[in-house]
C-alpha cells in the first residue's frame, strides 16, 4: 500500500522494554503510512503503546532498557532505523519534530524560551544567533503568542499552560519539519485551550503543509481533525481506516466500545456505557486475542481465547484485527 506521496511508512515495528519481570512488549509489529500533508491519528487508551510508537519513530526510546527489536521505518524512503545517530540528529527537530503531553516539564526550566527555540534553529539552519532570535520571534508570532518580542526572554514558569504548549509547537515547527508528531498535545490543557491549540495545528499544517501524527485517546479530537486513523490496543493496531469510515462502521469490537463509551450529543443517556474490565499489563497479556476478556462477542469464544487474529483488510482500505470483523 506504499504510495508515492507517502511521507512516512512504518512496517512491523516492534519495541520492547526490558524489565525485571522480563521484556515488556510495548509495541508489536505495528504498520501504517502517513501521506504528506495529512493528519494521521493514533488512538488508544493510555499504555497501549502509541507514545512508544512515536518515540520509536524519533528513535528516542530510552536506552538501554528500551529497544526497537524489529521493523522498518522509512521516512522519505530512507529507513530511519539504519541511519547513524549523527544523521538521525539532522532529522530530529528538523524533518521530524515532536511535541509532548506535558508542556510544563518538557521545557527546560532554566533557559528562556527564546533561547530554547533559537537553539533548534541555530542547530539545524546554521543561523547566526542574532538572526535565529529574530526568526524565533516571527515563529512565536506565528503561533499567536502576544508580544512575542518580550516573551522571548521569559522563562517557562512565567507562562500559562496553553502558552507553553504554543512555545513547544513553535519550537517544533521552527525548522519547518515535514512531519510533526503531536503526542497528546492537549491532554494537559483545559478544554477551551485545547480547541485553540488544535486549530493552531491545523492552521500550521495548511501553511507549512506538513503531515501530523496525532496521538490521542480522545475520539472527539480524531473525528474533527484526522484524515486517517489507527486504533491501538495492547501494543497492536486493532483497526485502521479513514476517519469517516471509522465513525461510520467500526469493525473491531474495541473500537465500537470506544465509540459507544463517549457521550452522544442530543441523545440523553442516564449513564455512559463503558468497556468492562481494564487494559491488560504489557507483562501479562491474555492469550489469543488480547481483547477477548473484555470483548462482548468473543469473551467465551475458543478461537478468540487461543489464536490471536492478524490485522486483515476487511473492506478496501479498512483493516481490522478481529475474527468476527466483516462487512
Amino acid at each position: 500500500m506504499a504510495e508515492n506521496n507517502t511521507l512516512l511508512s512504518v512496517r512491523n515495528l516492534s519495541t520492547f522494554f526490558d524489565t525485571e519481570q522480563g521484556p515488556a512488549k510495548a509495541v508489536q509489529n505495528v504498520s501504517f503510512d502517513i501521506k504528506s500533508a495529512e493528519t494521521f491519528a493514533l488512538v488508544g487508551e493510555s499504555g497501549c503503546g502509541k507514545s512508544v510508537t512515536a518515540l520509536s519513530i524519533m528513535r528516542l526510546i530510552p536506552h538501554p532498557q528500551g529497544r526497537i527489536v524489529s521493523g522498518k521505518i522509512s521516512f522519505k524512503n530512507h529507513n530511519i532505523l539504519e541511519l547513524t545517530e549523527k544523521r538521525m540528529r539532522t532529522i530530529r527537530g528538523n524533518k521530524i519534530a515532536m511535541i509532548f503531553q506535558e508542556p510544563m516539564t518538557s521545557l527546560n526550566p532554566v533557559f528562556s524560551i527564546g533561547f530554547q527555540i533559537a537553539e533548534a534553529i541555530r542547530l539545524h539552519q546554521r543561523k547566526k544567533s542574532s538572526r535565529a532570535w529574530s526568526m524565533t520571534e516571527e515563529i512565536l508570532e506565528k503561533v499567536h503568542i502576544p508580544d512575542a518580542g518580550r516573551r522571548l526572554y521569559e522563562y517557562p514558569h512565567q507562562l500559562s499552560g496553553g502558552m507553553r504548549q504554543r512555545v513547544m509547537i513553535a519550537m517544533a515547527i521552527s525548522c519547518k519539519p515535514s512531519l510533526l508528531i503531536a503526542d497528546e498535545p492537549t491532554t494537559a490543557l483545559d478544554v477551551t485551550i485545547q480547541a485553540q491549540i488544535l486549530d493552531l495545528l491545523d492552521e500550521l499544517q495548511k501553511s507549512e503543509n506538513m503531515s501530523i501524527l496525532l496521538i490521542t485517546h480522545d475520539l472527539g479530537v480524531v473525528a474533527q481533525r484526522a484524515d486517517n486513523v489507527a486504533v491501538m490496543y495492547a501494543s497492536k493496531i486493532a483497526e485502521q481506516c479513514s476517519c469517516n469510515e471509522l465513525f461510520k462502521n467500526p469493525l473491531h469490537p474495541y473500537t465500537q466500545g470506544l465509540l459507544n463509551s463517549r457521550p452522544q450529543l442530543g441523545t440523553r443517556q442516564n449513564r455512559l456505557n463503558t468497556i468492562a474490565g481494564n487494559v491488560p499489563e504489557p507483562l501479562n497479556f491474555p492469550s489469543g486475542c488480547k481483547f477477548h476478556p473484555r470483548c462482548p462477542i468473543g469473551y467465551n469464544d475458543k478461537r478468540c481465547q487461543t489464536v490471536e487474529p492478524e490485522l486483515r483488510e476487511v473492506s478496501p482500505n479498512h483493516y481490522a484485527a478481529c475474527w468476527y470483523a466483516k462487512k
Binding site: R89, G93, F100, T105, P109, V110
Partner: protein, 313 residues
C-alpha cells in the same frame, strides 16, 4: 534582593549566638580550665591564681556583666581569642598564618575534585545501566571504603619514598606546588568515590526529566544536552554541595597536613587537641561556623543566578 540579604543576616544572629553558646559550654564549662598546666612543673598555688586571673577564669560563668560568658561573646565577636597558652602566641595570628598553607592544599584539591567528579559523573550518568556505569559505581564504593589514613600512609610510603615521584614531606625552599602535589593527589583520589557517586545520582535525577527528551527531540547532540541542559539544571544541588563545602576548606585537612608537614590549620588543631589548647579549637569552631553561615547565604544568592524560578520575594 538587598532586603532579602538583610533579612537573612538578621536570621543568622540567633545561630551565631547558638554557636557561641555551644562553644562556651564545651570549652569553658565542660572542659574545665588548664591553669595548672600553664604554670608548669612545681608551680605554687599563687602562680596558678595569677594565671587564672590573667585568663579571666576566676570570674563567674554566667549571670554577671563581667561573666566569662559575656567576655566569651565579646572576644569571639571581635575575633580576639587571646593567646594560646601552650606558646604565648595570639591565637588569631596562628589562624592567619595557618590559613594560607591550608588553602594552598585544599583549594586545588577541591577544584580538581570538582572538575573530575562532575565531568565523570555526567559521562557515567549518560551510560547509566551499562557496564561502564556499574563498574564506575563499584570503583567509587571501593574508593569510599578505604580509610583515609591508609590512603595517606600507603601513598607516602610508595609514591613518595619508594618510587620517589614526589617529595616525602615539606622541605625548606621547596616550591609549594611540589610538596602539596602528593597530598592533593591523595586527597582527590580519596574523595573521588563519594563525590562522583553523589554527582552521578544528581545527574540521574535530572536525566529523568522530560526536558531532556525534548532537547534530544530537537536533534541536539548528547554532549550539548548533558553539558548545557542537564548541567545547568543540576547546578542547583551541585551549588549546595559545593558552596557549603568551601568553609571546610579553611579547616585544612587534619591528617594530610600532619603527614606532609603543611603548617596549616588542620595541623594547628591537632596540636591544640594534644595540648588541650581549647581556646584554639574554640576559635576555629567559631570562625568555621561564621564562614558556614556566610556561605549558606551565598548559596541562596547563587540559586537565583542559575535558577530563574528562585526569587527573593
Amino acid at each position: 534582593m538587598i532586603a532579602y540579604i538583610i533579612r537573612r543576616l538578621l536570621y543568622t544572629i540567633p545561630i551565631i549566638f547558638g554557636v557561641l553558646l555551644v562553644t562556651f559550654i564545651l570549652f569553658n564549662v565542660v572542659s574545665g580550665d588548664v591553669s595548672d598546666q600553664i604554670a608548669g612543673k612545681a608551680a605554687s598555688a599563687e602562680t596558678i591564681a595569677e594565671i587564672r586571673a590573667e585568663y579571666g577564669w576566676d570570674k563567674p560563668l554566667f549571670l554577671s556583666w563581667d561573666s566569662q560568658f559575656i567576655n566569651h561573646l565579646k572576644n569571639s565577636l571581635t575575633f580576639d581569642f587571646g593567646r594560646s597558652w601552650s606558646d604565648r602566641e595570639p591565637i588569631i595570628d596562628k589562624i592567619k598564618q595557618g590559613a594560607l598553607p591550608s588553602l594552598s592544599l585544599t583549594i586545588p584539591m577541591f577544584i580538581g575534585e570538582l572538575i573530575i567528579s562532575i565531568s565523570l559523573a555526567l559521562i557515567v550518568a549518560f551510560f547509566r545501566g551499562t557496564i561502564i556505569d556499574i563498574l564506575s559505581v563499584f570503583i567509587c564504593v571501593v574508593l569510599m571504603s578505604v580509610p583515609f589514613l591508609s590512603f595517606i600512609l600507603f601513598g607516602q610510603y610508595f609514591l613518595a619514598f619508594k618510587w620517589g615521584l614526589f617529595p616525602v614531606y615539606f622541605w625548606p625552599d621547596l616550591p609549594l606546588p611540589q610538596y602539596v602535589a602528593l597530598p592533593i593527589l591523595i586527597g582527590i583520589v580519596a574523595g573521588l568515590g563519594g563525590n562522583l557517586r553523589f554527582y552521578r545520582t544528581v545527574m540521574l535525577d535530572e536525566l529523568r526529566n522530560d526536558y531532556v527528551r525534548t532537547a534530544f527531540a530537537k536533534g541536539l547532540g548528547t554532549g550539548t544536552v548533558l553539558f548545557r541542559h542537564v548541567l545547568k539544571n543540576a547546578m542547583i544541588p551541585i551549588i549546595t554541595q559545593v558552596v557549603l563545602a568551601i568553609p571546610f576548606l579553611f579547616l585544612g585537612s587534619l591528617l594530610l597536613e600532619r603527614f606532609f608537614g603543611i603548617p596549616g590549620l588542620g595541623y594547628l588543631m591537632i596540636d591544640a587537641i594534644a595540648a588541650r589548647d581549647f581556646q584554639i579549637i574554640n576559635a576555629m569552631t567559631f570562625i568555621g561556623a561564621i564562614l558556614f553561615v556566610v556561605f549558606n547565604l551565598i548559596t541562596d544568592i547563587c540559586y537565583s543566578i542559575v535558577d530563574p524560578r528562585v526569587s527573593f520575594e
